[in-house]
C-alpha cells in the first residue's frame, strides 16, 4: 500500500468534514477575535534582537540550560572558595587563641610584638 496515496485520500475525505455546526463556527470566530485582540505587539528592535539570539539558543528553555547553568556553577565555585578562605583565617585565629589560653603566660607577653610574631611563625610552621 502506498502510504502517501492513502494519506492523500484520507485528507480529501477529512476536508469534506470541515463544515461545522454554526454554533461551533461562531465560537471559533469569537475565539479568533479574542486572540487577535491579545496579539503581542511587535517588540522594540533591541528586544527583537535579544529574542532572536535567545531563539537561536533554543528559546527561553535553551537559555536556562546553556547560559544559566555555567553562570550558576561559577557562582557556586566562587562562594565555596570564599567560604573555605574565611574558615581558614578563623581556624588560624582559633589556634593562636588556644595557645595563648592554655599556656601560663605573663600579661606582658600579650603586648610583646616579638612574641606575637613568634606565635604566628610557630603556627605557620605547623
Amino acid at each position: 500500500m502506498n502510504e502517501m496515496h492513502f494519506g492523500n485520500r484520507i485528507r480529501q475525505a477529512l476536508n469534506q468534514g470541515l463544515r461545522l455546526e454554526k454554533s461551533h463556527v461562531e465560537r471559533l470566530r469569537a475565539a479568533r477575535e479574542r486572540a487577535l485582540a491579545r496579539q503581542r505587539p511587535e517588540p522594540a528592535p533591541a528586544l527583537a534582537w535579544a529574542d532572536n539570539v535567545l531563539g537561536g539558543l533554543g528559546g527561553w528553555s535553551g537559555v536556562s540550560l546553556r547560559l544559566v547553568a555555567p553562570f550558576a556553577a561559577l557562582a557556586i565555585s566562587v562562594a565555596a572558595l570564599y567560604t573555605w578562605q574565611q574558615n581558614r583565617v578563623i581556624s588560624d585565629f582559633e589556634e593562636i587563641d588556644a595557645m595563648l589560653l592554655t599556656d601560663d603566660l605573663p600579661i606582658d607577653a600579650y603586648l610583646d610584638r616579638g612574641f606575637q610574631n613568634w606565635l604566628k611563625k610557630r603556627v605557620s610552621e605547623q
Binding site: F6, I10, L14, A31, L36, Q39, R40, E42, N52
Partner: protein, 200 residues
Amino acid sequence: MPDYNAVDGGLTLASRSELSAFLEGVERRAFKQALFAVRDEQAALDIVQDAMLRLAEKYGHRPAAELPLLFHRIVQNAIRDWFRRQKVRSLWTTLLSSLSGGTEDEDRDPLETLEAADGSNRESTPEEQLEQTQVLEIIEQELSRLPERQRQAFIMRYWEELDVAETAQVMGCSEGSVKTHCSRATHALASALKARGITL
C-alpha cells in the same frame, strides 16, 4: 495582499491580518484534531481557543512562517494538558458524567449537519451524499481509535501536510519515530476501514 509590518532576519513578522488569516485557515482542522483526541466538542473548542490565545499572546510577533509549527505544537500540548487534568479529576468526571447523562453528545453524529450545510455539492444524489457522510464518519471514528501518537503523526503528515522533520519538531520526537508512527497508523487505519467495507 498581506501587509508586511516588519522584517526579522529575512523572515517577515506576522501582521494582525496574517495572524487572522492563519487562524481562520487552521481553526477548523485544529478543532477536529482536538475532537478526535478528546471526543468532547466543548473541550475541543476550549482547547482550540486556549491555543489561539497562547499563540497570539506569546508568539504573535514571530515570523509568519513559524506560526504553523508553533500553533500545532501548542495544540498538541493543550490536548496533553487536557488529558493530564482529566486523569487528576477522573473520579469527579466519571461521577459528573454519569449524573448529567453526558453520553448524548457521544451518540449524536457530529456530521449530521453535513448534508444540510452542504450547498456546494448539489450535483450529488442524496444516496451519494449519504454514502460520503457515512464514509467520513467511519474514517473519523477509526482515526479516533488510533493510539494518540500514531494519530498525531498521521494527521500532522497527511492532513496538515507537514514534512517529517516538522512533524518531529511538533511532536518532540525523532524523525524515525514519526515514520514509524505514520506507517503503523496507515496500516491500522487501512485495515480498520477495509474491515468496515471501505477501500480508498
